[in-house]
């Protein structure tokens, strides 16, 4: 039997490779689609091809009679199931009833109307093609600004103004700030709809064990426990009769922080038919029916003094909600409002949100969820203000930063920033890029008519979601640590990581605290029958909240190990270190393995002590954490084609203490990829009739490896006082910091042509047109320059 060896070297802070990777990269991991069960049926969902229509009639008879078909269900059959839940509550929020299958009216292309269940997915699809639906097509609206304008077709007939809610928030004295301002800059800034494209699409397997009255639901989700509570409600099933299992999750980015119609629908089908059923989302369904991200039209006004001091910010957000509220849809823009002052000291803010229904798939949380939009807005506005005042973008930022001594800092939006030193990452990034030299180079290039840009963003985040009163579903997290009689350790976290690497980082924490080998630690998650209730992985929270819960559970367990070890050693002065309890007087010691065995054998027990070694901790944070950082992008523009080349990409992040630099770098890189995706390439385009024209990979431009610049990343370390690990969260940082830096860079390049703002994605044609527009007096054939 292996012994636990004392380990002098701490693992936290080490660049360890992820323990989960071997199974992922060798294709041996189990995803939902890998699950096979005897007698399993397959479901294909029939969806609306129209953005707005009524079902005049639906004939499923041919499909139902198709050989191999077990059943066809329509909205009439499932009317009593659900509705699909909306977890956010805003005053006056209009919540349309969200049926799992539309019984009569459809509101977006892809809206499910029927499900065909058959012996295999080919038969099911053949039968689905036999369903005949006579549609009464209605007028649709796909643009949020058009939706709230007079005369727009109503998405939901009961609310002809298409407004799901309005929200107002104010801090300080905005009117005074604007009345006394030396300068006011205004800009309309959009943050376009994006399609979260996880490598693994969604998928559900449902298995009903009638004899046990037990429904097992396998789903690719970020929130197994919340899903269990909500799907049980939707199906009218006792919560303890539903088990949700999250096998491997191949990416989520927020799109799987949700409960969708299909989860309840598969549960319904399995219970009706008494057989296991599987549904795997196609990529086309993924684009049409899984939530989209962003979808903002923002109107900004910033008031400032001549010296660049920002005195007030006004913001109107028109949020494209889509046709329904998914779990958090209406809450996302409220996060933008909380984040709107960014890193700046402004005491006076006013924000309004209009939540607009459109005939599109709902928007919801997508990497950053409201914070990228806010950061993009404020970081663009600060550059616009700097340009207006002819100030350097660095200088204006340094002038307005909340200062180190101001923390904890109460913001005008009601948050309390925990800690920070915002000039640290900015100065580090400037040093890395060689700012002064680049500006000199740029000045030379401008004389020759060459377009080179330097873009800066200094961003803040709200991470580690979050104190429970400030979150829709509880913001705590849970951890259980149990040690087997043989001394092997199992960690169970209520978070359900899906690419964040917690199987590694949580094992690092446990190995250090217990002083044992990391190979003796197993991290389990994502099965509600095994793991205690938890909240999930989103909002850069898993390590900061879940890791802290683990830390405290380990403290409880360590106390018991020490107590038990001392008892076995008959010592009243013992120390636990390196997985060994040692009597400080005699030097005698007991290993963790010996102690664990004794706690279970229980031949004799210390007074008031239970046998066994297990501890569970639910940790409620007192605040969010507020990481920050600086990104700098150096770009060159091809005047002739509008093409953008990224020459340098610098990312300096301050996420507090770093448990595993390799994983943190990976998070930053992935985040930057998605930020560049938004800045340069991605856009979910609906045409006027509500058809998604970027409906496949052939037209929706996702970033690919060869399109990425080399990312020079580094860190500064300002630990948070909010949790004992001093960690703040990093999952969304890359995305939040990226897009404004990229756009600021291109706008900086084009500024000699009078360009002040560019909406994303900055396609070459858009840039070319700006260059053309600015230099239309010049001959078109400027291409001669290159010769």
């Amino acid at each position: 039997m292996a012994t636990t060896i004392a380990k002098p070297e701490l693992l936290v802070g080490k660049r360890l490779r992820r323990r989960e990777d071997p199974r992922l990269i060798t294709g041996t991991a189990t995803y939902v689609d890998d699950i096979k069960m005897p007698g399993m049926l397959y479901a294909v969902i029939v969806r609306s091809p129209h953005a707005a229509a009524s079902i005049k009639s639906m004939d499923v008879s041919k499909a139902a009679q198709h050989p191999g078909v077990a059943a066809v269900f329509t909205g009439k059959d499932t009317e009593k199931v659900g509705p699909v839940p909306c977890g956010s509550s805003l005053p006056g929020l209009r919540v349309p009833h969200h049926y799992i299958l539309a019984p009569e009216r459809v509101y977006f292309v892809g809206h499910p109307v029927a499900v065909v269940v058959a012996t295999d997915r080919y038969v099911a699809k053949d039968a689905a093609d036999l369903i005949e639906i006579d549609w009464d097509v209605r007028g649709a609206v796909a643009d949020p600004e058009k939706a709230i304008a007079d005369g727009a077709p109503p998405v939901h007939p009961q609310w002809p103004d298409n407004k799901a809610f309005t929200h107002h928030q104010e801090g300080g004295d905005v009117d005074k700030a604007f009345a006394e301002a030396d300068v006011i800059v205004k800009q309309r800034i959009t943050s376009q709809r994006l399609i979260p494209t996880a490598m693994e699409t969604r998928g559900v397997v449902a298995e009903w064990r009638a004899a046990d009255r037990q429904l097992n639901l396998y789903s690719s989700t970020q929130i197994p426990h919340l899903m269990r509570s909500l799907v049980a409600q939707m199906l009218g099933l006792e919560e303890n009769r539903l088990r949700v299992v999250t096998p491997e999750v191949g990416g989520g980015f927020g799109s799987k922080l949700n409960v969708y119609a299909e989860e309840a629908l598969m549960g319904f089908v399995a219970m009706k038919l008494g057989k296991p059923v599987k549904w795997i989302e196609s990529r086309r369904e993924n684009f049409l029916c899984t939530i989209h991200g962003r979808g903002h039209v923002d109107y900004y006004e910033v008031a400032a003094k001549k010296d660049g001091t920002i005195t007030g910010i006004k913001l109107l957000i028109i949020q494209d909600l889509g046709a329904y509220h998914q779990l958090l849809t209406p809450a996302i823009p409220t996060l933008s409002v909380l984040m709107m002052p960014g890193l700046y000291k402004t005491a006076n803010i006013r924000a309004d949100i209009i939540g607009a229904f459109t005939n599109c798939v709902p928007t919801d949380a997508y990497r950053g969820a409201g914070r990228p939009e806010a950061t993009h807005g404020i970081e663009r506005m600060v550059d616009i203000l700097a340009a207006e005042l002819k100030m350097d973008p660095v200088e204006i930022r340094l002038k307005n930063f909340i200062q180190k001594e101001d923390f904890p800092f109460p913001t005008a939006t009601g948050l309390t920033y925990d800690t920070g030193d915002y000039s640290l990452p900015l100065k580090k990034a400037l040093g890395m890029v060689g700012y002064e030299k680049l500006r000199a180079e740029q000045a030379e290039k401008r004389k020759k008519g060459e377009l080179m840009g330097i873009g800066i963003s200094t961003y803040g985040e709200i991470c580690a979601f979050g104190p429970s009163p400030a979150t829709p579903a509880g913001g705590w997290e849970s951890a259980t640590v149990k040690i087997d009689p043989s001394g092997k350790v199992t960690v169970m976290t209520g978070c359900s990581p899906h690419g964040q690497g917690e199987e590694t980082t949580f094992a690092q924490i446990a190995a250090d605290e217990l002083g044992i080998d990391i190979d003796d630690i197993l991290v389990l998650h994502g099965d509600t029958a095994i793991v205690q209730y938890g909240i999930g992985t989103f909002g850069s929270r898993a390590t900061a909240v879940g890791g802290t819960a683990l830390y405290f559970a380990l403290q409880d367990l360590k106390a018991k190990i020490k107590k038990f070890g001392a008892f076995l050693l008959e010592s009243d002065d013992a120390t636990l270190a390196g997985g060994v309890v040692t009597c400080n007087k005699t030097g005698a010691s007991k290993t963790l393995q010996e102690i664990a065995g004794a706690t279970y054998r229980a031949m004799k027990l210390p007074a008031n002590t239970e046998p066994g070694l297990i501890a569970t901790h639910f940790w409620e944070p007192t605040n969010f954490t507020f990481p920050f950082g600086a990104h700098i992008v150096v770009s060159d523009i091809d005047r002739e084609t509008g093409g953008i080349t990224i020459r340098r990409y610098i990312a300096v992040d301050d996420c507090g203490n770093i448990l595993n630099p390799l994983i943190v770098d990976g998070q930053v890189h992935g985040g930057v990829a998605q930020g560049l995706g938004q800045a340069l390439w991605e856009e979910a385009v609906y045409d006027e009739s509500g058809q998604l024209v970027t409906g496949e990979m052939t037209d929706y431009v996702l970033p690919r490896a060869h399109m990425m610049p080399w990312i020079e990343s580094d860190h500064t370390t300002t630990p948070t006082p909010v949790n004992p690990l001093g960690v703040k969260g990093v999952g969304e940082a890359g995305t939040i910091g990226c897009s404004p830096a990229m756009v600021n860079s291109v706008v900086d390049a084009l500024s000699p042509l009078g360009v002040r703002h560019i909406d994303m994605p900055m396609t070459p044609e858009k840039i070319w047109r700006l260059v053309q527009g600015a230099s239309s007096q010049e001959p078109v054939a400027r291409m001669g320059e290159r010769l």
């Binding site: 294909v44 997915r121 080919y122 699809k125 053949d126 093609d129 196609s282 990529r283 086309r284 002739e640 084609t641 390439w681 385009v685 024209v693 970027t694 990979m697 052939t698 037209d699 929706y700 431009v701 996702l702 690919r704 399109m707 396609t763 044609e765 070319w768 047109r769 078109v780 054939a781 291409m783 001669g784 290159r786 010769l787």
Partner: protein, 284 residues
């Protein structure tokens, strides 16, 4: 993502394959365009005839001063062939820029030519190279020049029952310089515009030039006006610029989400200049 039921045959001989195709079978080569369409049920052929296993369609050889390339030769094989790189570098360069590595390892030259996607890369090179295609049916074989082959969007001179059996491209002599310049549509890997250029320059004068254009129009075409503008000149900057300016004249340009007709035409001019200069730099 779920195709309809279909029959599948992998014939042992070309004759057998052509028999089935004559009876209505749909030839399958690399499947890079057909299979995605089938998965979406946009295409639903009853019978697929897989040409991929016909070894005698997979070859590159030099014969009679030309390169003969079998239809099922993959883009990767064309791109990496020492023979093609040495003797017909334009074709090798073009093949090396098709789609992505997965596509290049499965997609074939015959499949791409027969499919005649208006934004595919190969057709630009075929026009510039004045390639010839050997078209074979169950009872016939004929050779058609690229100029007569590409007719319209996805429309070629192939008759029902015929397949592209072989592609014939010339061997360059020492006087030519070639280049393929492509603006990539980043989602699909197709060309927004692609300009394939061959120039023969002797004693400082351009003897002839060939310019093939893809992505711009309903099918790849030869920009003969550009070619005429260059012939006899020394290929100086202004001459190149003036000649290239007419590359899109009279063309009804494609327009989509990724590039308007106006921008496409502009890109065609810019990239024709760039392609010509790159090719000229490679002439002796």
């Amino acid at each position: 993502m779920i195709p309809q039921t279909f029959e599948y045959t992998a014939p042992k001989t070309l004759e057998e394959a052509l028999q089935i195709i004559a009876g209505g079978g749909k030839p399958l080569s690399g499947g890079m365009s057909l299979i995605p369409m089938m998965k979406l049920r946009l295409a639903a052929p009853d019978h697929l005839v897989d040409l991929g296993r016909l070894k005698d369609l997979h070859y590159i050889r030099e014969e009679g001063g030309a390169l003969h390339i079998g239809a099922t030769t993959t883009h990767q094989d064309v791109a990496s062939s020492a023979l093609v790189r040495g003797k017909c570098p334009l074709l090798a360069q073009t093949a090396g820029g098709v789609g992505d590595p997965q596509v290049r390892n499965r997609g074939t030259i015959g499949g791409s030519v027969a499919h005649a996607d208006p934004s595919a890369d190969y057709p630009a090179a075929m026009q510039a190279l004045e390639a010839k295609f050997v078209l074979k049916g169950a009872k016939s074989e004929r050779t058609v020049a690229a100029a007569d082959f590409f007719l319209d969007t996805f429309l070629t001179a192939l008759e029902p029952g015929e397949i592209v059996r072989e592609v014939i491209v010339p061997v360059e002599d020492g006087s030519t310089g070639t280049h393929y310049e492509k603006v990539v549509q980043k989602a699909s890997g197709f060309a927004v515009v692609g300009i394939a250029v061959r120039i023969s320059r002797k004693a400082g004068k351009i003897v002839w030039a060939r310019v093939g254009v893809t992505g711009l129009a309903n099918h790849a075409y030869r920009a003969t006006a550009v070619e005429k503008g260059l012939a006899g000149t020394s290929g100086g900057a202004t001459e190149v610029q003036n000649a290239a300016a007419v590359v899109a004249d009279g063309i009804e340009a494609n327009s989509d989400l990724h590039a308007s007709a106006e921008y496409r035409k502009h890109l065609a001019v810019v990239h024709t200049i760039r392609a010509l200069l790159a090719a000229l730099a490679r002439t002796a």
